[in-house]
């Protein structure tokens, strides 16, 4: 029991870490590399999740679509949908400076969440969408979990590889130049607005993919899953803790935050029964404390951005 159970639990955590890792990678493109303060991750996550669910789930009389397409179409659709939504938002909001952009994106995410919550014919309203297929979902419990875990990790690695290539290319250096000194980059003839929009849309597409991976894992989506706490701020903490500007940092942040989030409950359960219930709040506290400590003692994150040449690991981190 124990060993199989441990494996099942580890697989579950691995899958969630994979999904959050992809979200953090998407945010890294926007914030880490380009300096766009997107506080509306939940919105793009939601668009991806709902769109993939609508494309692949069986039809239901109370809402639109339900096309029962293969899951791959759902994933591609999720990326395309999130990118499509991000484009007009970016066109309008990216002209704001960072803190105003944050407010605008929070607003957009809330609008998306409320639309999904209330437009019954679109999203199933407060009850959400059920019956979403999971690849390898027909297998026995442990095997199905493991197969999906492997799939998520494969997607994570693929996204990581693609983003690494993209950031190592001149495009990545240009984005960092825009982030660090907008005027200088503009003076070099770079089209700032267009480039920032590219990064915003790319990051949103990656977040949409994470949403799709999530919905097929849970086989259902309800508006509670796109709560800003769990799908925006947790991702921010992951990226800041792991090290923004560094893709491996983003993934490491996802690993650490999720492990603490999930495993701290084992520790608090060792406390006497009278306080064990109250102690459930400790994990929220631990995440906050961790963020404070990181910001105080290591503001660049655990794995800081590699500056300049990709080989110079020992060079000091760039200041922000």
């Amino acid at each position: 029991m124990a060993s199989i159970g441990l494996i099942n639990y580890a697989t579950f955590m691995g899958t969630m870490i994979g999904i959050y890792g992809i979200l953090a990678l998407g945010l890294n493109v926007q914030w880490g590399v380009t300096g766009l303060f997107n506080a509306g991750i939940a919105g793009f996550f939601a668009v991806g999740a709902y769109l993939s669910a609508l494309l692949t789930a069986p039809p239901s009389p109370e809402r639109i679509m339900g096309w029962e397409l293969p899951v791959a179409f759902g994933w591609l659709g999720a990326m395309a949908g999130a990118a499509l939504i991000a484009w007009p938002i970016g066109r309008i909001c990216l002209r704001f400076r960072s803190d105003y952009l944050a407010i605008a994106t929070i607003g957009v995410a809330e609008v998306i969440r409320l639309v999904l919550r209330t437009e019954e014919s679109l999203s199933g309203g407060a009850r959400g969408i059920t019956g979403v297929p999971r690849p390898f979902g027909g297998f026995e419990y442990s095997l199905s979990q493991f197969a999906y875990f492997a799939l998520v990790i494969a997607v994570l690695l693929l996204v990581y590889w693609a983003l690494e290539r993209q950031l190592a290319a001149p495009w990545g250096r240009m984005m960092k130049a825009i982030r660090d000194n907008e005027q200088a980059a503009a003076a070099m003839g770079k089209d700032i607005a267009k480039r920032r929009l590219e990064a915003f849309v790319l990051g949103a597409a990656v977040m949409g993919l994470a949403g799709a991976l999530y919905v097929h894992f849970m086989r259902a989506i309800t508006p509670e899953a796109i709560d800003p706490m769990i799908s925006t701020f947790l991702v921010w903490i992951m990226l800041i803790l792991g090290g923004s500007g560094n893709n491996r940092g983003a993934i490491l942040g996802a690993v650490i935050v999720w492990l603490i989030w999930s495993m701290s409950e084992f520790v608090t359960d060792q406390l006497p029964a009278d306080v064990a219930t109250q102690a459930k709040y400790i994990r929220v506290f631990l995440i906050g404390l961790m963020l404070q400590l990181i910001l105080r003692f290591r503001p660049e994150g655990l794995l800081p951005e590699e500056s300049g040449q990709r080989t110079s690991y020992r060079s000091p981190p760039s200041s922000r």
């Binding site: 019956g131 769990i230 084992f266 709040y281």
Partner: protein
């Protein structure tokens, strides 16, 4: 730095796991998933307390099997599917729970059932997930609930109204899953029976005025308004403004409108035509016994979901005892104790139940929240009555079905 963090993390992990090694083989492991943090944090303490209370009663009256106990652990599901599935995975795989009470919110129940408990073959009884979607889950008969689906009350109310000769109503509902669930069920059933809904409008909470909504609603010519909202909030405003402006004569509501603040604010002399449906679990012999004992143990028996949580926890224990602790037989055993046949067991009568099970005699559980008889979806029908205003209180007019 990185290594240090990883090392301390590993130590923390191992420490946590080693201390979670199973204690005794014959103990029955049960997980209670409650949204301790998150939006229903206010309701959670009472729910946890009543679940634990049921387990303690079982353990002090002979426990499970021969000398075993209900070995429960409480998990925080956060009213959020990500956290709930995480907690459920821990409960099922690390703790080795064979049954689960909770999680609390409907969205969580759906996610946990879909991705954890049903694939793992673990019985789940929720005490507070009311979404009609839970009924239709493909659950291999492993998902049950002790709280009625929102669907049921809406339909019962529609049938009663129609039977009383009301054919034409206007309807307004609060735009959340509570209001929507009731409104859909009501209008579906009402139309099926040949009634007409002249107008139907969702409304948002906490607006100062609903006069424009009411004017629209009144256009259809119905003199009865059905309101699915809360009587201490938008429901009260709507009734007051409808009366002031003479939009409607009769007002019908569901349990959310059974709120004494309506009587206080409007006066009983104005509420002659105000009828509400509400659960009657709070009157039966089961509830009285539970109420007395739970109060003595320092709990609040009238707390939201206190009775249903107690029942879910107690039923889980009954099913485990009946199945002899065999995980695969739990669902069938739960069906047997929730079949409505055999000798009645009241809350807290564990010793008696244990005796009957040992003798192989049929029994059924007459719970704190009413007679728990599961239908084919694993839902309970719920016991509702129609109430009218008399003096400063709501009094029962009749039972509704």
């Amino acid at each position: 730095m990185k290594k240090k963090i990883l090392a301390s993390l590993a130590a923390l992990t191992l420490g946590g796991m080693l201390t979670n090694v199973p204690v005794m083989a014959q103990n029955a492991k049960v997980a209670y998933l409650v949204g301790i943090t998150g939006p229903i944090a206010g309701l959670a303490p009472t729910m946890v307390q009543s679940m634990k209370f049921a387990a303690e009663q079982v353990n002090t009256q002979g426990g499970i099997g021969k000398g075993g106990k209900i070995d429960y652990s409480v998990y925080d599901s956060g009213c959020n599917p990500q956290l709930a599935t995480d907690a459920a995975t821990k409960a099922v795989n690390i703790n080795g729970a064979i049954g689960m009470v909770g999680p609390s919110c409907s969205g969580e129940v759906i996610a946990v059932a879909n991705s954890v408990t049903v694939p793992a073959g673990v019985l789940l009884i929720t005490s507070s997930g009311t979404s009609p979607k839970i009924s239709t889950l493909d659950d291999k008969d492993l998902v049950f609930r002790t709280v009625p689906s929102d669907d049921y009350q809406g339909r019962a109310l529609a049938r009663t109204l129609k039977a009383h000769g009301t054919d034409k109503v206007a309807m307004t509902y609060l735009n959340n899953d509570y209001g929507l669930g009731l409104a859909e069920a009501f209008s579906d059933e009402f139309k099926k029976l040949g009634g007409t809904i002249t107008a139907s409008r969702a409304h948002e909470d906490k607006k100062p005025s609903y006069r424009s909504d009411l004017a629209e609603l009144a256009k259809g010519g119905a003199d009865t308004l059905v309101i699915f909202a809360y009587g201490n909030s938008s429901g009260l405003t709507i009734v007051r403004q409808a009366m002031e402006n003479g939009f409607f004569k009769n007002f019908i509501g569901a349990d959310g409108m059974r709120d004494e603040s309506v009587i206080k604010a409007l006066g009983d002399e104005n509420l002659k035509n105000y009828l509400v449906s509400a659960p009657v679990g709070a009157t039966g012999a089961g509830f009285e016994k539970f109420s007395k004992e739970f109060k003595a143990a320092g709990g609040d028996p009238n707390g939201t979901f206190a009775a249903t949580s107690y029942d879910a926890s107690f039923l889980m224990a009954l099913a485990i005892e009946k199945a002899g602790g065999d995980k695969a037989k739990l669902s069938k055993a739960l069906r047997e104790v929730g079949s409505g046949q055999g000798e009645a067991i009241l809350p807290g009568e564990w010793a008696k139940a244990k005796q009957l099970i040992a003798e192989g005699k049929p029994l059924h559980y007459l719970g704190a929240s009413g007679d728990l008889h599961f239908d084919e979806h694993g839902d309970v029908a719920g016991n509702y009555a129609l109430y009218k205003v008399s003096g400063n209180a709501f009094v029962e007019v009749e039972k509704i079905k």
